[in-house]
């Protein structure tokens, strides 16, 4: 029984085979039969091998046959032809034989101390190849391959060396596929052209070079889905094998219409290379430096990012533009980068936010370093929801997992701006992430804001202070009150919390105080009707879910100390009566009859409206009179008009719909 020692590469098997055929065995013998009961190789166990060699008496060239009774692919039998290559050696070739569903032929030579060995395999099953590669590559359980491959293996070396000097492995195939057991690392219909070359130099260093090309089929890598026909892919590489890793001097990645990049990298694998089966899952990128010539959007986003971001607010972006630059990776994680953004536009298709033509330089360095220059970004337009901002730019320092604004920045919003004095993010992405933000609002026209949100057009300006904002437990917490001066008064938000701000279901809670608004400014542009005087109010326990109000307790009323002239138009009376549940033209027509028709405005003592929203129902009330009756409007003087409500329950969504309808058409509406 012959037993080969476990070779550390397929190449050694080649040498062993070549040595067997060395004619120096016994020149005087004209017939040789060698029977081997069992051959153990890392790839397979072979049984009942018989090698017969005889010398053709006429040509004196050796001929022979090889049969192996049991191999992983069934019995093999083939004829061998050996040709004398002069005094220095032999050339040999085997007949083609069936192997793994395809046809295999081999040839070789031994001239002096130099040998060559080549195997061509046409249309062999990729599943069989996968099985054969198991000793060298750790194939995960349940992993399978399909399709047929044409392969070529060429080896060349010297008889006195342990390893071959050159190895060349080529694969070509179409309609190839593979899948892991889970089915999320898979490909179908792949056309493949790949080459791997290895060569050893005098010092024993092994250089590798090769490429993988594919222009057809589709592949899924976890959350990345790639159509190769849309993005023909070529990956080229050159490098050096090291005892426990791979040093890649040049990696070129090109995916047409999507990615063009080069890189150098050091990849480590646990255990000694060639001795331990390669486990792709355990490879670690110790270090890599990528030069991104181009990352093109939307292809990069739709192929590699979109599914990974599912369930977040970034999962439905329309994107365009390019990113280029460099990226450094240490121990599998990006640690630094220098990226150039080229007209990158991002727009959430659900309307959450947008950036138009974002451009500039992002310089990101590790925590312990200083960037050579800060990051500088500018954009043509950007916004969150309907709050639109114009051209702006900012400078940032990005270091490790923190970012801070280098200098205050002015973000134009409509005809005003938000001035950000401080913005600092630390431990980004971790549960301890903290955001600090302070800013001020430069006057923004309410008319612009109301137009953007589709509200009735409101007069006046918003101005105010944005207090310290912190981010903790996936919740933005406003450390102080948010104040906005509008309509000559003040609106203050306190206890503002926004949970899950980037998730699918953001929830905002706050209390609002409304102080001394000027009703004339507020109503001057509304179809609602004109009112003069002042108004105070409160919105307690305001809660917005996915930006729609779900509950609050809101009060609006004339301040006790309001000494201003309080007048209300017929239109406004009609509108308030409508909200209060009365409807149609009844009120207006009643006020246009008899002596009342000479009055277009009436004095009032107080306005009072309270709406407690819960479960899509607004419980409406005002200033209590008695029992269940209340004033919405308490008139004054002569003639006096009061609007008195009874216990009122209004469907909130219905009310919003009706108000919107009224604004659009200028008509009246009823709420029941």
């Amino acid at each position: 029984m012959a037993r080969f020692y476990r070779p550390s590469s397929p190449a050694r098997l080649g040498i062993a085979a070549a040595l067997l055929l060395t004619p120096q065995v016994a020149p005087a013998i004209d017939r040789l039969t060698l029977r081997i009961e069992r051959i153990e190789t890392p790839a397979a166990v072979l049984k009942d091998a018989t090698l017969k060699v005889s010398i053709d008496p006429k040509t004196t060239a050796p001929r022979g046959s090889l049969s192996i009774g049991s191999t992983p692919v069934g019995p093999i039998a083939l004829n061998l032809a050996l040709r004398d290559a002069g005094s220095q050696g032999f050339i040999f070739a085997g007949d083609d034989f069936e192997f793994a569903g395809g046809e295999v032929g081999f040839s070789g030579s031994l001239i002096g101390r130099r040998w060559t060995f080549a195997i061509t395999a046409n249309a062999i099953s990729s599943e069989a190849l996968l099985q054969l590669s198991k000793p060298f590559v750790d194939v995960p359980e349940g992993f399978y391959a399909q399709g047929r491959l044409d392969t070529l293996l060429q080896l060349a070396g010297r008889t006195d060396a342990q390893l071959p000097e050159n190895a060349n492995l080529e694969f070509r195939g179409s309609e190839l596929g593979f899948s892991n057991a889970a089915g999320d690392f898979a490909a179908e219909g792949i056309g493949l052209d790949a080459r791997l070359g290895l060569s050893a130099d005098a010092t024993g260093k092994i250089k590798i070079a090769g490429y993988i090309k594919s222009e057809q089929g589709e592949a899924l890598f976890d959350t990345a889905y790639l159509k190769l026909a849309s993005h023909p892919t070529r990956i080229g590489f050159e490098g050096e094998l090291e005892p426990n890793g791979l040093n890649i001097g040049l990696l070129e990645i090109k995916q047409e219409g999507m990615i063009s990049a080069t890189a150098s990298a050091r990849v480590a694998q646990p255990g000694k290379l060639l001795d331990t089966p390669l486990d792709l899952r355990k490879l670690k990128i110790e270090s890599a430096a990528f030069t991104l010539n181009e990352l093109r959007f939307p292809a990069v986003y739709t192929t590699y990012l979109q599914t990974a971001l599912a369930g977040s607010s970034l999962d439905a972006l329309e994107s365009s533009g390019r990113i280029a630059g460099t990226l450094l990776i240490r121990d599998n994680n990006p640690v630094a980068g220098d990226l150039r953004l080229d007209d990158l536009s991002l727009r959430d298709s659900k309307g959450l936010f947008f950036f138009d033509r974002l451009r500039g330089q992002v310089s990101w360095v590790p925590e312990d370093q200083e960037p050579l220059e800060p990051s500088a970004l500018m954009w043509d337009a950007g916004g969150i929801y309907e709050v639109r901002g114009g051209t702006s730019s900012l400078r940032l320092v990005l270091r490790g997992m923190s970012a801070s604004l280098l200098e205050p920045v002015r973000l134009p919003v409509f005809d005003g701006a938000i001035n950000v004095q401080e913005l600092r993010v630390t431990d980004a992405g971790s549960p301890n992430m903290q955001v600090q933000f302070t800013g001020e609002i430069e006057p923004i026209s309410m008319s612009e804001i109301s137009q953007a949100f589709g509200w009735p057009e409101l007069g006046g300006f918003v101005t105010g202070r944005i207090p310290r904002v912190e981010f903790k437990d996936n919740t933005l917490i406003f450390g102080g009150d948010l104040e906005a001066e509008m309509f000559d008064g003040l609106v203050r938000g306190s206890d503002i919390k926004l949970s899950d701000p980037l998730g699918r279901w953001p929830r905002l809670s706050a209390d609002l105080t409304i102080e001394n608004l000027d009703l004339e400014t507020l109503t001057s542009t509304l179809e609602f009707g004109a009112i003069t005087g002042r108004i105070d109010g409160k919105v307690d326990n305001l809660e917005l879910f996915a930006w729609a109000p779900v509950s609050f307790d809101a009060w609006l009323r004339t301040p006790d100390d309001d000494n201003s002239r309080k007048r209300i138009s017929v239109d406004a009376i009609n509108s308030i009566a409508n909200v209060g549940g009365s409807a149609g033209s009844g009120v207006a027509s009643a006020l246009q009859m008899g002596a009342l028709r000479f009055f277009s405005r009436y004095s009032y003592r107080q306005l009072a409206i309270r709406c407690v929203l819960e479960d899509d129902v607004c419980r409406l009330s005002g200033a209590p009179i008695a029992d269940n009756r209340y004033y919405l409007l308490e008139g004054a003087g002569v003639p006096r008009v009061d609007i008195i409500g009874n216990s009122g329950r209004i469907q909130w969504s219905e009310l919003l719909r009706q108000v919107a309808w009224q604004i659009e058409t200028g008509g009246t509406f009823s709420v029941q």
């Binding site: 009566a577 009844g586 009874n646 009246t668 009823s670």
Partner: protein
């Protein structure tokens, strides 16, 4: 019956001692009904049904009653009075007899509508066994390999999105009923009802040990 018995016991013990502890139990029966209601609208809703965004197509009638709402404020009043009376007699047991599970909040409706829209895409993956229901009220990928390759990334996305909605739904129901501690029970009830009511024959679900079973 059980509740009534507790009520009587509580009333009786009130006469003996003035200090008692009241446990509020999770209303499993009510939760099942609530879950069925939501599951039905997710499955049967589809399309434009249940869409609350539609603006009114016709303007409201021009002739309407005079100032003042026509609203029945008598009934709540009577209820309130009855409540007060009950409160006075058996104050603490009151909550227990009325325990219900309310699933009518705008949050719950918004999430349900979102799940309803997605169900149109997910249904065929339930039918083909690509995804299944889990014992904690979520969904999971069972056999992504049986989906066509281009669909696999879609399945991952739908499952992640649907689970985000499902988690938000259970929290919203617990929050609506001011019982955040009920969220796990609500989740469990939904898991059961999805299997018993929502799942078609042939759909897969995970049992309590995490093994896939077929309905």
């Amino acid at each position: 019956m059980k509740n009534l018995l507790k009520l009587k016991l509580t009333a009786a013990s009130l006469m003996i001692a003035s200090c008692i502890t009241i446990n509020v139990y999770f209303p499993a029966g009510a939760a099942e009904k609530a879950a069925d209601q939501i599951i039905d609208s997710v499955i049967q809703g589809g399309g434009d049904r249940g869409n609350t965004q539609t603006p009114p197509t016709t303007p409201p009638p021009a002739t309407t009653p005079p100032i003042g709402l026509i609203d029945s404020f008598v009934t709540p009043h009577v209820n309130h009075l009855a409540g007060l009376l009950l409160d006075a007699l058996i104050p603490s047991a009151h909550a227990q007899t009325e325990m219900n599970l309310d699933v009518s909040s705008p949050e719950i409706r918004a999430i349900t509508a979102s799940m309803q829209t997605r169900f149109g895409q997910l249904e065929r993956f339930f039918d083909s066994g690509v995804v299944g229901l889990t014992a904690d009220g979520l969904i999971d990928i069972r056999d992504i390999g049986s989906a066509a390759l281009p669909d696999r990334a879609l399945v991952k996305r739908l499952v992640a999105e649907d689970n985000a909605d499902r988690n938000a739904l259970y929290d919203a129901i617990a929050r609506k009923n001011e019982r955040p501690e009920w969220a796990p029970d609500i989740r469990r009830i939904f898991a059961q009802r999805w299997v018993e009511r929502g799942a078609k024959p042939g759909w897969y679900f995970k049992d309590l040990n995490g093994n896939w079973k077929q309905r």
